[in-house]
């Protein structure tokens, strides 16, 4: 059942009517905290939840799978744990905290508790600002959290099976090489994954 229904029943059990504003407050409080159903090796459950949501905004499910379905959050967790240097790990997690703090500042709630529209709007804002900063005169020496997240999401997604085979195209054993052909004759005409 959905939360409103559950709350109506609770009110009935408790023998009273619950007012609308109160409903909103209790709804939030009772809502199951979003979390991941796998055990991250490096990130905390909260951090893994946040990056899951961010990566799904970067590469959402459309008519093809998105980042979550392609296992990108787990990939990101492992990359941070085993591949990234300590400095880059810190840049990522500290940057994630700053990202979350800014969400709280902007919307009044932690990022993972915002609704989908707010999350998408926020990610786009932070992302676009970061891209502009990269192109500007005071280009930061190292990329901020949002672009690290984008890099990792794209790396994980386009090397995943759905990413490589459904969004891009992939031939395990081409068997021949044609150097100069129209795009329409190059397999499905999509970008080659490798």
């Amino acid at each position: 059942m959905d939360r409103r229904e559950a709350l109506k029943r609770t009110a009935w059990l408790m023998g009273g009517v619950v007012s609308a504003p109160a409903i909103m407050g209790v709804l939030k409080g009772c809502a199951a905290k979003p979390s991941v159903d796998w055990k991250p090796a490096f990130l905390s459950n909260e951090q893994a939840t946040l990056i899951t949501q961010v990566s799904e905004i970067i590469i959402p499910k459309t008519d093809t799978p998105g980042a979550k379905e392609a296992g990108v959050p787990q990939f990101i967790d492992l990359m941070l744990k085993d591949v990234y240097t300590k400095d880059d790990q810190d840049r990522f997690t500290n940057g994630m905290k700053a990202f979350d703090d800014k969400a709280k500042e902007t919307y009044g709630d932690p990022f993972v508790e915002l609704d989908a529209e707010q999350q998408t709007e926020f990610v786009k804002q932070v992302h676009d600002d970061a891209i502009k900063a990269e192109r500007g005169d005071n280009r930061p020496e190292k990329r901020p959290f949002i672009l690290m997240a984008k890099e990792l999401t794209m790396l994980g997604f386009f090397t995943s099976e759905p990413g490589a085979t459904l969004v891009l195209q992939y031939e395990a054993v081409p068997g021949s090489y044609k150097g100069c052909i129209p795009v329409s004759e190059a397999g499905s005409g999509r970008t080659w994954a490798t």
Partner: protein
């Protein structure tokens, strides 16, 4: 000492080959096919075609999207210097640097793998003949010593090895890059063809052509276990289709077929046994890498093909009354004259247009621009020259990280082939400098307790002057072709990064200034031959492996004919 025991007889062969890489595999094939019972010793583990553990892995089968972990980079810090060798699909082919240390007085990049097949499994497969100009160069320039051979001496052997190897290439009709016995050439893509036309129009004496690669673009009847290239471009993993030449796919199976080969992996040769009374080598001393046992093997003729520094180490480590400075080292040149090809310099550009054009398949090859500097009437402020290797391609997702596109729009954008880019990097000839040297360091031992090597070598004025042209010529060609955002690159490198190291037991006419004669025979000990890169008297700019193969086949032919005449 030499007691005629059963054990000694059991360990006695007609020939011993040390090493199973590009040259060792050829020595094994040629010796066994000529009827000699041959012991082939490889310091590393066994590898048998088609057992290549990562060969058919799809991108999603590799952890970390193939990236090296921090732990990988710790274990293989030197091997990682290329930027491409230590990845999840190839790292197992390269040494653990902590277990195989060496000392670099100046930065020196020594890339290798210890297993049957050696670097012939991971090599770049570019296969070019040297020309007369290359063999004459030292004599003409008054540099180092003259080669004791010329192109005509090696030409029939280039024919011979190319036919077996299967080299795909185009007959370009250039004096400085002799044509070979080729399988059909691979295609240039649309943008490469565009560059080819424009360079032909605007730069007399320069040619853009397709690379000459040891990938089979047609079946090789003489080698049934060889297939044809499937255009996966995953060669350095090892190819279960037998699509490219390696010892494991090609020469060792031929040797095995004769019934005359005994292949012994995990056998580290650390000394040549020299008999001062007989005035010849009688065998080699082996440290078994698995059991730690020391064993001696004996043979009438010995081929050192353990790679440039591998063979040089064995010779330097073989000290006797006759050879106090290392086996065969009457000249003092053993360990000296380290050469390589210097690289990581060139240019790249964006290419507008060609939006409706693409390619199918992953070509295991690139475009090639043969040397034109100091060729014919061209005269620069440096000696020798360089060739370029490169290619064009359409961008994929990596470029979209820095674009505004996000979400569903990002998925849409990335699925359409991106803008074209093109680039080329030069391979430049390094001159032989006596002082660029390697020597044994008894103070630092490897995990087997064997002494290690110390390198003291760097690029000098001639190379740095050449690099200026390597960058600006590339940019000039791309600009002239009308491409945009033309930018050069010139990175700091160590000698060795080209992975074409050579020169430390050079061939020459005079035993006072060289280690080997014109048949790769040690001047001072006629039954030992050295046919890997250590034999090279100059470096040219062409990828050297094909030349090592030709020298090896020729040296075996000579060795066997000398054995028949009882001269060896």
């Amino acid at each position: 000492m030499n007691l005629n025991t059963d054990a000694e007889k059991k360990n006695t062969y007609d020939a011993i080959v040390v090493g199973t890489g590009i040259s060792g595999g050829w020595a094994a094939k040629e010796l066994t096919e000529k009827g000699l019972k041959t012991l082939v010793l490889e310091r590393g583990r066994m590898v048998k075609h088609p057992d290549y553990p990562t060969a058919t892995k799809d991108p999603w089968d590799l952890p970390y999207a193939g990236s090296p972990t921090r732990e990988d980079l710790k274990q293989q810090a030197v091997q990682a210097r290329t930027g491409y060798t230590v990845r999840q699909d190839t790292k197992h082919w390269f040494v653990n640097d902590l277990e195989n240390p060496y000392t670099e007085i100046k930065r020196f990049d020594w890339m290798r793998g210890y297993h049957v097949g050696g670097r012939s499994i991971m090599w770049g497969r570019q296969s070019y003949r040297w020309s007369e100009m290359d063999f004459e160069a030292n004599a003409k320039d008054g540099i180092a010593v003259d080669w004791p051979i010329r192109y005509k001496d090696l030409e029939p052997w280039y024919d011979y090895v190319e036919s077996f190897v299967g080299v795909s290439g185009n007959k370009d009709g250039l004096a400085q890059l002799p044509d070979g016995k080729f399988l059909p050439p691979m295609e240039l893509n649309c943008v490469e063809q565009d560059l080819k036309k424009k360079v032909a129009d605007k730069f007399a004496g320069r040619t853009v052509t397709i690379g000459r690669t040891a990938n089979a673009t047609a079946p090789l009847g003489h080698s049934p276990q060889r297939g044809t290239c499937q255009y996966r471009n995953l060669c350095s993993r090892g190819c279960p289709y037998g699509g490219y030449f390696s010892s494991v796919s090609s020469t060792l199976p031929a040797a095995e077929k004769t019934g005359n080969m005994t292949l012994r992996p995990n056998s580290i040769v650390y000394e040549v046994i020299y008999d001062e009374q007989k005035g010849k080598a009688t065998g080699v001393r082996v440290l078994d890498a698995e059991s730690g046992e020391q064993v001696e093997f004996f043979a009438r003729v010995i081929f050192l093909c353990a790679s440039t520094f591998g063979s040089t180490f064995i010779m330097q480590n073989s000290v006797s009354n006759r050879f106090p400075n290392g086996f065969g080292n009457d000249s003092g040149e053993l360990g000296c004259n380290i050469m390589d090809h210097h690289l990581s310099v060139g240019a790249a550009a964006s290419v507008e247009g060609f939006e409706d054009q693409y390619y199918f398949g992953r070509r295991a090859n690139g475009m090639y621009i043969p040397r034109y500097r100091n060729v014919g009437k061209d005269k620069r402020d440096y000696l020798r020259g360089f060739g370029y290797q490169g290619g064009a391609s359409r961008q994929g997702w990596t470029n979209l990280v820095a674009e505004l596109s996000l979400g569903a729009d990002l998925k849409q954008t990335v699925s359409k082939p991106g803008a074209w880019t093109i680039g080329m990097g030069g391979f430049g000839e390094i001159l032989p400098y006596h002082e660029n040297r390697v020597f044994i360091n008894k103070d630092k031992k490897d995990k087997y307790g064997l002494p290690t090597l110390t390198f003291d070598a760097d690029l000098k004025d001639n190379e740095y002057k050449m690099r200026k042209d390597m960058a600006s010529d590339a940019a000039e060609m791309l600009e002239a072709a009308g491409y945009k955002n033309v930018h050069t690159f010139d990175n700091k490198i160590g000698i060795g990064l080209g992975i074409h190291e050579m020169g430390t037991a050079r061939m020459g006419k005079d035993p006072k200034t060289s280690v080997l004669n014109k048949y790769n025979q040690v001047h001072a000990c006629k039954n030992v031959f050295v046919t890997d890169g250590s034999a090279m008297t100059s470096a040219a700019c062409q990828n050297p492996s094909l030349t090592y193969m030709a020298l090896t086949a020729r040296a075996v032919d000579y060795a066997v004919s000398e054995m028949k005449k009882q001269n060896v």
